[in-house]
Symmetry: C2
Subunit: 418 residues, 2 copies
């Protein structure tokens, strides 16, 4: 079977399943989530055995330790998948909700009903737990899912997929509601991204290279989780102790996440007061500092930051620091180098905070809070399938609602247009 034929078959099965899912009751979807969770619990040994094959292959192929770590399944991670699915049962079902149902002068009632997108394609790398997460979120939001994991996790993903499909069948839903590609051919990614007749949205989860490759090939709308070059700006009217604690937390609470601060901006008039104690904390923690000329005068341990530094997503214990004139200069820097992910200002000044909130163009804009808060769980979405840096459709953490659309409903009683 050619890639195109395989895509066609999987696509048609997904479309068919999606019409059944769109009318599945909340109760049925929750029953399927519970059955999926139970089956994963029951098949723990089979999952570990499948994962062992992937790990052995990975080691033989010389995958780096970070990749191997992400690939590994253990009891704790399997329990995490199970817990994740069970938490989705508790989330409110977004489908069918009717909002803004109002009478119009003509006498008709017009409102909006939340509906599934249809078929969601998810392309991801290494971490096999995404298979269960993505399947659960798509199911709860009434969408059929076509999943395409990384070749290094093929056996693990197939084993998880089997549990998911068993769960769907137990609950009386079509097992094709969640399909996982067996082909590891790289060309399949482009094939999926081109199949606008079968797929309503593509969500790539992975490195910048994967996302750009998908966006390039896509004929289907893409929800992109691109890079996060997040800034904290310490204003001249910042509370110094809040500033130090937030700037330290935003960089060091975790290094490898997209909402980690990569560049610290400090107002000139407070740099001399705030940078020395803050730099001391960073250095003690082992964070490498790179700064502008002004920063290097105040923090002698900092090396010179280049233009590449301002544009870098380090995902590592490295921080670039720039001293700026004021909030306008800070916002100008963010406009030039920011990736539209998350930006935070530390200030006690009402007007400055209000300007920053209004004028900064990013998926999350914060006042006096750590950029690390930017995620679906912290925002109360219950779960997330990614963080969108697009402005279109879904922006910021994408939970169940990002996987839905709305249609207009019109209720009349014989109404005709005059």
């Amino acid at each position: 079977m050619s890639l195109e034929q395989e895509m066609q078959q999987i696509g048609q099965q997904a479309r068919e399943a999606s019409t059944m899912l769109a009318r599945a009751t909340t109760q049925m979807k929750n029953a399927a989530l519970e059955a999926m969770a139970s089956e994963i619990e029951k098949q723990q040994d089979a999952l570990m055995a499948a994962n062992k094959i992937d790990m052995d292959n990975g080691e033989a192929r010389g995958l780096n330790p970070a990749l191997l770590d992400r690939l590994a399944l253990n009891e704790e991670r399997i329990a995490g998948m199970v817990e994740g699915l069970r938490q989705m049962i508790a989330l409110p079902d977004p489908i069918g909700a009717i909002t803004d149902l109002n009478y119009r002068p003509s006498g008709i009632q017009v409102g909006k009903m939340r509906v599934p997108l249809g078929v969601v394609g998810i392309i991801y790398e290494s971490r096999p737990n995404v298979t269960a997460d993505a399947a659960g979120l798509c199911l709860k939001s009434g969408n059929a899912a076509i999943l395409r994991g990384g070749s290094e996790a093929l056996n693990s993903n197939q084993a998880i997929a089997k549990c998911i499909q068993t769960g769907l069948e137990v609950a009386g839903l079509p097992s094709n509601a969640v399909q996982v590609f067996k082909t590891t051919d790289r060309e399949m990614v482009s094939e999926l991204a081109r199949s606008s007749q079968y797929v309503d949205v593509i969500i790539p989860r992975g490195g910048k290279g994967l996302i750009e490759r998908v966006a390039e090939a896509a004929r289907v709308p893409v929800i992109k989780h691109l890079h996060g070059i997040c800034h904290v700006y310490i204003d001249d009217e910042a509370d110094a102790s809040k500033a130090v604690s937030i700037a330290f937390n935003a960089k060091t609470q975790r290094y490898g996440t997209c909402n980690t601060m990569e560049t610290l901006l400090v107002a000139k008039s407070v740099a001399g007061e705030i940078l020395p104690p803050l730099a001391a904390q960073y250095l003690e923690k082992g964070v490498e500092l790179r700064g502008c000329a002004e920063t290097m005068k105040i923090v002698p341990q900092a090396t010179a930051a280049t233009d590449e530094d301002w544009a870098a997503e380090y995902l590592a214990p490295i921080l670039s620091i720039r001293v700026v004139d004021d909030v306008d200069a800070a916002m100008q820097h963010i406009r030039q180098y920011g990736s539209g992910h998350t930006e935070s200002i530390i200030t006690e000044n009402w007007t400055t905070a209000r300007r920053f909130l209004t004028e900064v163009d990013a998926s999350s804009v914060m006042v006096n809070a750590s950029t690390r808060f930017a995620d679906g769980f912290e925002y109360g979405l219950g779960a997330e399938i990614g963080i969108s840096t697009d402005k279109f459709h879904a922006r910021g953490p994408v939970g169940l609602e990002g996987l839905t659309s709305q249609k207009y409903v019109v209720l009349g009683d014989g109404h005709i247009r005059g």
Copy 2:
């Protein structure tokens, strides 16, 4: 200047203007709308003169009468543009609205703020009034606009653009907030659709050919207003008099609109009662009827409908009629041939109505109302820039809100993540 260079210049100017528009107050935007309206009123003679050149050129080039009619400006149409701009002043400003601002367990407050998309590209054909409509909607929603009208309306569009830019300047807003291409090169459409660094969304308004050409070239998200193959299904529990009046209105109130019914579906058990009087009305009005075998037995004047008829958007006094077994067969026909625009059921049965509302996948789904209601004014959006048949971002009539995005705002008081 090459097309690419021209696009770059216009694009950069639009981006710059868009950051100023994003922070423009409601008062400033409304003042600009009023100034634009006044200037158009004042320049009525100049607009008519410019339009005369286009009309003369069009006649010389042998444009068909329907196109010439759409191209023509007269006092009434100019007054319509002015009125349209003034109505936008009264619409609520969507920008800056914060919703769902709630405390989270961590102590931060998280909400969503409505923000402009940035730069909106609009590609349209013949009707010069779209220039004023689109400019006004983009301005009110805080977006910079790049407009690309049809070559046949070049002089009219430029004259309207001049009024709009004067209005922007009078109100202290950058005149580059609305730019109209002077190039009529067809390649410019693709250039615009590819310029994802300068444009946030493309809205093509015109025939299917234009829209498909834009979608094909696009690297920028597109809000597509594709064709409308709308159905009315008369259920076996329909009220006969409502059924006849709605089915007649949905077809004949206007023939050339995308929300006009193109195919009538009738339940077998009531076809014999309802079709004869309804067909008599259609025939008296001059509507050509094409039907399935069952229809032809009941309505001898109907000719045989082919598979192409079920898939046709006539935009003309032609109607295809199919007798179906029940609501399931009707929904199956709609799934197969519908374009996802607007679908209506006529029934007094609660359960059947509820099923149709839930299961039919279209931008508008109606019960006991004419499909002709599907537009932005009837739905209370105040104005519309098109009707989207996409599921992504904006679906159905697109008003000001469809031209916006939302960003998350996070308010803290020194909060860090634990």
